[in-house]
């Protein structure tokens, strides 16, 4: 079963009165009313997450920040997740994290011209909420998420690439394809050969892609992604471009890993 971000009755009630809540927020310095909203995913780690990522900034749970994921992860090394903040309207920058992973931050992306949505896979060490957070121009963080049950081991197991010589010859090789969408936009899917070692498996140092960018042939940046250790081996991404961001031509993928190896490839329709 696919689960979208769900909201507890409490935060639903808050959303129903969100305009009043926002007005209240702007006119009063104290934002405690909003900060005290309880986590709809009821995670014991939520307070730590809030302090770590948002500090004193106001945070609300908003079902328009959608996190789609399986309820149960069949493969803890490759848990498929799609985050989609399109319903917020003006979302550009999205942060993704998993409360109970030993390395909590999964990735961040800035959808400069792409839709503010991204499909990817991550490693889960144990059952955990996976959350997406968007900072609005009003200074409020809006958070959505889903619990994923996992048997675990995803972050402390060695990558299959680390025991195979093949990746060394194919490191940072990109396979991608562009599809036209019925709305006039385009979908880009790509997979990059990289072990994405977390550094948590004995004797295997941390080795992962840090930065990725997708641009059109005129050099216009469509999306930038900063990936961290929990992103799955041989990362794969699903990116959607709205009609106004499409060029009909090939797209350039660039980036680098933490050892300075470059990614430089073209994806063709």
């Amino acid at each position: 079963m696919i689960r979208h971000a769900t909201l507890a009755a409490l935060s639903l009630a808050l959303l129903a009165g969100s305009s009043a809540g926002a007005a209240n927020l702007q006119t009063t310095a104290g934002v405690q009313t909003i900060q005290s909203v309880s986590d709809p995913l009821d995670s014991p780690r939520w307070e730590d997450m809030r302090k770590m990522f948002f500090g004193d900034a106001p945070v609300i749970f908003d079902e328009r920040v959608r996190v789609s994921a399986p309820r149960i992860a069949e493969d803890s090394m490759n848990v498929p997740v799609t985050v989609d903040a399109s319903a917020l309207g003006d979302a550009r920058s999205v942060l993704v994290f998993a409360d109970f992973n030993p390395i909590i931050k999964v990735l961040e992306f800035q959808a400069t011209h792409a839709r503010p949505s991204l499909g990817f896979r991550l490693k889960l060490q144990q059952s955990s909420p996976v959350r997406a957070a968007v900072l609005g121009s009003d200074g409020i963080w809006r958070v959505g998420g889903a619990w994923i049950t996992a048997t675990g081991g995803g972050c402390t197991l060695p990558s299959t690439g680390s025991s195979s010589p093949e990746w060394q010859e194919r490191l940072n090789e990109v396979n991608g394809r562009i599809w036209s969408r019925v709305d006039g936009g385009e979908r880009v899917r790509m997979r990059i050969i990289h072990p994405m070692d977390t550094g948590l498996a004995a004797g295997i140092p941390v080795f992962h892609i840090e930065d990725l960018a997708l641009a059109d042939s005129a050099g216009r940046k469509l999306i930038e992604i900063q990936t961290f250790e929990p992103v799955s081996e041989n990362p794969s991404f699903t990116i959607d471009l709205p009609p106004e961001a499409t060029s009909g031509g090939r797209l350039h993928v660039s980036g680098r890993d933490n050892n300075g190896n470059r990614i430089d490839a073209w994806v063709t329709p």
């Binding site: 696919i2 789609s68 069949e74 048997t151 396979n175 394809r177 997979r191 794969s236």
Partner: protein, 316 residues
Amino acid sequence: MGDTMITSVPRALLTLLLSALAPLLAQANDFDYRLAPRMIANDVYALIGTTEDFSFANGGNIVNSGFIVGPSGVIVIDTGSSRRYGEQLLAAIATITDKPIALTINTHHHPDHFLGNQAFPPDTLAATPETIHGIRTEGEGFSANMYRLNGDWMLGSEVVVPAKTLAAGRIRVAGRDLEFLPLAGHTASDLVVIDHDSGTVFAADLIFNRRAPTTPHADIPRWLAALDTLEAIPAKRWVPGHGEVSEDTAPIRHTRAYLEWLADTITRGAEAGLDMTEMLAMPIPEAFADMNLAASEFRRSVTHLYPAAEQAALKR
């Protein structure tokens, strides 16, 4: 007042907890699978498990096993999901015949088909070379997962690798006219056992009856070819790996229809550029509504099969 409040609350909670747990404890703590051999032909018996997933409630008894009583001994087909299952299967056989175990077959390397091996004479344990290799290399991992899913039902269960190799062919075993037909597709090796005396085909996990097929090691084109081979056998009855015994080929055709739909859905999804989360949200067609666990097995199968289909679509 304060004292009574403090002590009475936990006591009430404890009573509540115990009364809630009582049926569970009564049901499970004898660890008896209540295996009941059913005679499906002269001297041929099947033990039919539930069509569920592994759980503490069923102790892993979600699998079919069987045995054939030959003139000079017993041929056992699969040994179940735990040491306890194996021991209880052996005891169930002893209620039918006092003949010795002549041959104990593991049809393939999945844990519910071999983790009862400990109960049987080691020199009777037999499988194909691929299955022996699979049990040797993946058995411990499977076993750990079974402990996690079935809990204390697994106590004392250990992987025992068969020593004897089975090859294709028609031979007499314990005076019985048997044929070993090594097929593949559910795993790298799925051994079909044909009892020519009774016209019974033990089809291993190549056939699932009203239970969605599982695909962690599946090669669907090979599986479909194996189903064609099975359907051409002029058998009187088929014993599937999971689900009821059948006297017609309907379960073969239903398994084939599901696998064809699954393979087609996955290929078309990858070619259309769908993300895996979009694949997981696909509805199950009404035609498979009578298959137990169709929705959850479909989602597991997407995890198993979609990555290869995606790569094929990206590389073109």
